[in-house]
Amino acid sequence: MTPALAVEGLTLAIGDSTVVEDVGFRLAPGEVLALVGESGCGKSLTAQAIMHLLPRAVRQLCGRVSLAGEVISDYPERRMRQLRGRKLAMIFQEPQAALDALATIGAQVAETTGRPLRRARADVRSLLADVGISDPARRIDQYPFELSGGMCQRAMIASALIGHPVVLIADEPTTALDVTIQAQILELLRRLVADRGTAILLITHDMGVVADIADRVAVMYAGRIAETGTAEAIFAAPRHPYTALLLAALPRLSHAPKSRLAVIEGRVPTPAEFGAGCRFADRCPLADAHCVAQQPPLRDMGDGHRSACWHAERVSA
């Protein structure tokens, strides 16, 4: 089956520093892939590169992105504009900041259809109702400041959906929301995948959200993919020491209170400090001379579970 989205060998640089290196993954139609990692790991830059929305300072050195079988990484801006908001849509972390403060909700949702709101009104209203906006007949003419954060996120999802996207990129879509509202938005995204078969690339740092909604997970560390596999496999039997430590560092409702949480010593290296070896080596409990000397490739561990660790077999959850 043709993947909804395929990224191969994506490499991004700021000046002389490579900030994202050889990142690749595939996303099947109707699948949710979570791209997880801590601040600065390159997950948001990866999303921006797919959308051709990289900040000016970031250059794409290589990499191929295809959407439903069509290579889009070499599209000129003119063609990307036709794609964005239609086959390829994106929603952001701060809905109130991402929406245009001076346009009504209805006008913004209608904008991507190319039709003025007065002609698209019925479609927009039914879509607003569909994403769970109460009283859509009134909301359609309101401005973002008149809506709560959760309602604005629903409006942004509506504006992403009106073009019937093949792929929806959701960059921390619930991070700015309260937990009860987060639960509502996750439920909405789940329904979207089930009803419309939209594939979702979910960028997040929240392992709880990943466990809730992702089919597969790609863990990023310092600009590279450390590990990728099904959500069940990643959580139950991580094959990269970074993932294992990250999971052990989480306070959980099932742990003894005030118990010791796992700590990852040191800090993430800056791109200037990247050496020839594994980027996690200086913080890794399993690291040896080989790890410092040579970058481990992503190796297949069976069942599509891949890990970029020389000692993947020795990692314990």
Binding site: I181, M207, A231, F235
Partner: protein, 316 residues
Amino acid sequence: MNEALTVADLAVHYRMRHGPPVRAVDGVSFTVAASETLGLVGESGCGKSSVSNAVVGLVHATRGSIRIAGAEVAGADRRTLFRIRAQAQMVFQDPATSLNPRMTVGSAVGEPLAVRRVARGRALRERVADLLTEVGLRPEHAARYPHQFSGGQRQRIVIARALALRPALLVCDEPVSALDVSVRAQILNLLVDLQRAHRMACLFVSHDLAVVRHVCDRVAVMYLGHLAELAPRDALFAAPRHPYTRALLASVPEPDPVVQRNRPRVPLSGEIPSPANPPSGCRFHTRCPIARELCKREVPEWRPVGDSMVACHFAA
């Protein structure tokens, strides 16, 4: 007197240019015992930060009483407040904006001691070195500036400054919310160590229930300016008695796909109403799955049920 903090019938109202005042906190009572950590949880706009700001005297209490180690904060004059604040120190969410970028770490951590003339000269430098060591930094870090540190290290500096006067009460407002997971674990471990070492009382404000469960002894749940439930940690998490507490717990995704996907989903419908115009009766009735006519009419009594205090007509 065994209570480090006693809050009685606290109200914090904010006057608006137009319309009725926002009743951010409207009659909240609780105590924090010496060496105890009380978690204060709730969603944005519930009033939890207004409570913590009122406790350290950053906002005025509209009504009620706040006693820190026996001394009254509400309505205190500046001199009294200055004295009491030595007993109640605060750690904020964002360590990047809690430190003066032009002040060395040593002068920031030593400032409370210098301002109150507790120590000076060499004695001051030694105290600062001890404090930095205590929070996991090195004495030589005193000469550096905040920008030379990571987010986690900066939060350690802020904690060292808060500990400088050996306060009776530490107020932490979302102290780990701005930090990455691996760094968050370090700071949580540090806070648990400090609780054990100092027998210090702590009011821990957070929206993150997993974090609150990890560090707190008792937990208070706030909704729209009122307390919904206050209970010992294990009782609250094992057997929540207020329907809002139950909904809140059910909304936190557990980082385990097998567990998470088999949990019954009880998403709470609707959103938090405006605190400028709160619902009548029980403030939760507009979203409550078990609300009846009575809940719209009558404010539920704050009453003991088992080990817990609950404000719900139907809690049992």
